[in-house]
């Protein structure tokens, strides 16, 4: 027994060195690995919340029709019922939050329709498309069609 412990000095020194190494590693790990890493997987759990903080810029159609009941009634039964308000009016979350602070964008009824209805060979054939040259040229579209409830057989 004594024979083994005779030169124990270097063993103790090695153990101490090892312990210091372990402590150093743990300190480095504590400093370098961010909080919440590994809770759900190999990433920072806080990143989920970071991705959530942004404020939406599109309010969504259900917000618009809470206040604009006239437009809602026209729009609901019309051919544009599937087209969200902000598809034409643009992002309006600020307006929906406080209408007096932020004016809503009113699209130009002469041009907005072409975003969707201009003829194009790649469009599905059943989608209603018009060529402005052959479709009552010059007239503003909303002179005959209501933008909120367009009709295929518009009243003149």
């Amino acid at each position: 027994m004594n024979r083994f412990l005779k030169d124990k000095e270097h063993l103790v020194r090695m153990a101490a060195l090892f312990a210091v190494g372990v402590v150093l590693f743990l300190i480095l790990k504590a400093v370098l690995v961010p909080k919440g890493f590994g809770v759900y997987g190999h990433y920072r759990a806080g990143a989920l919340a970071d991705n959530r903080v942004r404020a939406p810029r599109f309010a969504g159609r259900s917000a618009c029709i809470e206040c604009h009941t006239d437009e809602r009634d026209a729009w609901k039964g019309g051919k544009h019922a599937g087209v969200g308000c902000e598809a034409c009016h643009g992002a309006l979350a600020k307006h929906a939050e406080d209408p007096s602070a932020s004016n809503a964008f009113k699209p130009d009824p002469k041009t907005i329709c072409f975003t969707c209805h201009l003829t194009n060979a790649a469009k599905p054939r059943k989608f209603p498309q018009i060529d402005p040259k052959n479709h009552f040229d010059g007239g503003a579209c909303n002179g005959c069609h209501s933008p909120h409830a367009p009709d295929k057989e518009p009243k003149k």
């Binding site: 103790v12 372990v22 959530r52 598809a87 790649a122």
Partner: protein, 252 residues
């Protein structure tokens, strides 16, 4: 005496090693509480349906996405974009173009009645369940969230571009302002608040629809059953969760 010291070093060493899991456990307990109570991650699993036959190439989704997510407007940066395919009858390769990613729509470029098949295909991050992009990140700055969105940890991203190259669909880019990676996160800030994505909100024809695969009442289940569905590059087995209906074989 001497063996006491040895014991001490051994016990102390063991205790030191044990502090790591203990600390990790404490951290898990702390951060686990941070989850918003209104939104329960475990109850959702997000994906999207793209109905190719409904897309009219209006570009509303591209514009809405850039607005909603502050994507640089220069036409090299997209979280979503639209491609136009033009396939002459019997042609081996399709003509594909995407002027400004479809941001300003698609000016007619082919002669009417040329006999070719032509259609639009919206593209976005496929929110893969086994995404190649997250696997290559050296620091864990991009990952699949428990509710099925592939997200980026911007505060932790090094901007090394490995993931940009790893994505087989070309869905990632380096934001020139922050020099970190950016991509579609399925409007994570919206879907966790009960809203749909900006692209789905502004799509006039319902060509794209956000779906919750864990919601038994979501019409997606009927849709997936009633239609012949394809994902992009199925041979790569990425577990893509953007399901295309009516996808032509020429689309890659």
């Amino acid at each position: 005496m001497s063996s006491d010291r040895r014991d001490f070093v051994l016990t102390a060493g063991k205790l030191l090693v044990l502090t790591a899991p203990a600390a990790a456990y404490l951290e898990a307990v702390e951060t686990g509480k941070a989850e918003e109570p209104a939104y329960k991650m475990a109850e959702h699993y997000w994906g999207m349906i793209v109905d190719v036959d409904k897309c009219i190439g209006c570009g509303n989704c591209v514009r809405a996405c850039k607005t909603e997510n502050d994507v640089p407007v220069e036409p090299y940066f997209f979280r979503t974009w639209v491609e136009r395919y033009h396939v002459a009858e019997g042609a081996e390769h399709p003509d594909v173009d995407s002027p400004d990613g479809g941001y300003s729509g698609f000016p007619e470029k082919y002669a009417a009645g040329d006999g070719a098949k032509s259609f639009f295909v919206p593209k976005l991050c496929n929110q893969c369940a086994h995404s190649p992009c997250t696997q290559v990140c050296p620091v864990g700055a991009t990952f699949e969230s428990p509710d099925g969105a592939v997200l980026v940890d911007k505060s932790y991203c090094l901007g090394c571009r490995y993931c940009v190259q790893a994505c087989p669909y070309g869905c990632r880019f380096i934001d020139p302002r922050t020099k970190t990676v950016d991509k579609c996160n399925l409007c994570y800030h919206r879907i966790t608040k009960g809203l749909t994505t900006a692209c789905c909100e502004s799509c006039p024809t319902g060509a794209r629809q956000l779906v919750d695969l864990k919601d038994p009442k979501d019409p997606v289940h009927d849709f997936l059953r009633d239609h012949k569905i394809q994902v992009l590059k199925p041979q790569l087995a990425t577990g893509a969760k953007v399901y295309y209906n009516g996808l032509d074989g020429s689309v890659r």
